[in-house]
């Protein structure tokens, strides 16, 4: 267990700057998620922590000690790969026991540890099989078991759930969370799935184009996105972002007129989450439009309105019904949050 510190860490491939002066402290025992779209540098950042990628500039510290020049094997880490990275020529038991074997643990202790770890991830009955004889979920468990068979200082997980089907992903997510609670090892987790980030993380680092855009708890990232990118990336369905302007204490856009506490300015984007909107009488509604689509999700209905080319989505009751193209009104729920961003810089405007 250890605190991980990235100080001005940078990664270049020739002229291409993949990661820009990253500063990040991962607390001892923390579960930190690096979240972002593909190509944002999250995996590169993790691979630098692992030692699989050289660090171009800056320092990487584990518990205060500089590890830039240490080989991966000397960093005392464990990693779970997206494609599992299992050894196809070894049985499940040998796969799990390999890190112990490499560290010279004797056979007897090894067998016991492997058995114990396999039980923990419910692989006890499959120890004699080869990876090719396992399903995706089982392979993922083997990879996980191989990572936790010894207690490393740091766990690194590179999109470990992205090759699993949706249902299994939810189950494994819960297992991961429980496992982290049990082991308490500092964990860095890379994903592009905001749901995984929200559910697993103590803190989320949202990355874009090689930089961390926002580093905060899932709750704060959801309720107070630092810019338009984070606002559009977090939440499903995503936050409604409406182009407009503020004049006379009201946000004005086609079909929208809402009171806001902000000084007058042009080129403003208002963000409001679908779950913060409710359906009202179109005649007096601050947001109005025609029904464009209704999508029943089970516990609620997503209502999309369109007005002059821009659409707004709201989460309505499951039993809501309306004909397509009929007029419909929306209003923020009492106490709902609206967010204002500068259209040009994308930055949040605080009232």
């Amino acid at each position: 267990m250890a605190e991980v510190q990235l100080v001005d860490v940078e990664k270049r491939y020739g002229d291409f700057l993949a990661v820009t002066r990253q500063n990040l402290t991962i607390k001892d025992g923390e579960f930190l998620v690096l979240l972002g779209p593909s190509g944002c540098g999250k995996t590169t950042t993790m691979r630098m922590i692992a030692g699989l990628e050289e660090i171009t500039a800056g320092n990487l510290l584990f518990a205060g000690e500089r590890v830039n020049d240490k080989a991966p094997k000397d960093r005392d880490i464990a990693m779970v790969f997206q494609n599992y990275g299992l050894y196809p020529h070894m049985t499940v038991a040998d796969n799990i026991g390999y890190p112990l074997k490499l560290r010279g643990v004797d056979r007897k202790t090894r067998t016991a540890r492997v058995q114990e770890t396999a039980e923990k991830v419910e692989l006890g009955a499959l120890l004699k099989r080869r990876p090719s004889e396992l399903s995706g979920g089982q392979r993922q468990r083997v990879a996980l078991a191989r990572a936790i068979v010894r207690t490393p200082k740091i766990f690194l997980m590179d999109e470990p759930l992205s090759n699993l089907d949706a249902k299994l992903r939810v189950t494994m997510r819960a297992e991961l969370k429980h496992l982290h609670h049990e082991l308490g090892v500092t964990t860095v987790y890379v994903t592009h799935d905001q749901m995984e980030a929200m559910t697993l993380a103590h803190r989320v680092a949202v990355m874009r184009e090689g930089r961390i855009v926002q580093l905060d708890t899932p709750k704060n990232i959801y309720s107070e996105p630092a810019d338009l990118f984070v606002a559009s990336f977090i939440g499903s369905p995503p936050m409604n972002l409406i182009d407009g302007r503020i004049s006379g204490g009201r946000f004005e856009a086609p079909g929208v007129s809402l009171p806001v506490e902000a000084t007058d300015r042009d080129k403003v984007v208002m963000g409001i989450r679908p779950e913060d909107l409710e359906l009202t009488d179109p005649a007096s509604a601050p947001i109005s439009g025609r029904v464009y689509a209704l999508e029943l999700t089970g516990d609620s209905t997503l209502v999309t309105l369109r007005e002059q080319g821009s659409s707004i989505c709201a989460r309505g009751p499951a039993d809501f019904e309306a004909a397509i193209n009929t007029s419909c009104g929306l209003a923020p729920k009492p106490g709902a949050r609206t967010h204002l961003f500068d259209k040009d810089s994308g930055q949040r405007i605080d009232a």
Binding site: K73, A78, N83, Y84, R146
Partner: protein, 294 residues
Amino acid sequence: MRDRSLAYVLLVPAFLIVLATTLYPLAYSLVTAFREWDLTKQRRPGEFVGVDNFVHAFSEPGFQNSIWITTIFVITSVILTLLIAMSLALLLRREGRLHTFTRIILILPFAMSPALIGVSYRFMFNPEFGVIAKGLGAVFPSLEGVPWLASPDLAMAILVLTDVWHWAPYMTFMCLGGLASVPRETEEAARIDGASSWRVFFGVVLPQMKGVLLVIAVLKTIFALKMFDQVVTLTGGGPGTSTETLAFFIFNVGFKWYDMGYASALAWILTAIMMLISIWYVRMLLSERKMATA
């Protein structure tokens, strides 16, 4: 149905050609193997002698010598080719302009005719004017004037060298293909799990290349068993009989001594050896595949 019969009709010419050039001589040589046929006396295969030709082979020193020579040649050439091909593949694995260039020129030795390779090496190892013989002599004075091809052991070593030089590049490509199919993540996982580069290669990469290496070993074995061209153009089987491989020996029996019956029997012995190796290889490959897909 008409389409089907048309298809067969169209196959007939090809089949006839194969029949005339391959199957007929093959069958004829099998018949000859059981007969006495001295080309200087008879125009056609003569008297049926049963398995005499085969029995004779195992009691004749010339044949025993060629089996021994061939065995040494096959083992050294296969092992060296494998080692060099694998090492080159590891060196050329990374991307880069130099790597790509080297990979391209690497095909050249393989593009050369084996008979010509023999001729060039004979020149290069000529103690009077050969570039290698002279060059070695200049760097290591003790090697000046060494009669390279006149010494039985050295001649054998040079024969192996020409064959490895010819084949290693091609096998390097096969190794590169094999390496490319090893998932990078398994190597990275091993590095993180605590393996040294040495362990990563021997414990993780090499076992995953077992299939490719097996194919290379068997192909190379079969090619080495047939070794003929360089023997003719480089050493002529000499000095003495020290580089008389089985294929060269069979050629001599048939076309120097004109003992066609005996030569046919020897050719069938060589065929049997190759068949055994092929069968063993297919078995190994199938069991490997079963292991991978089971």
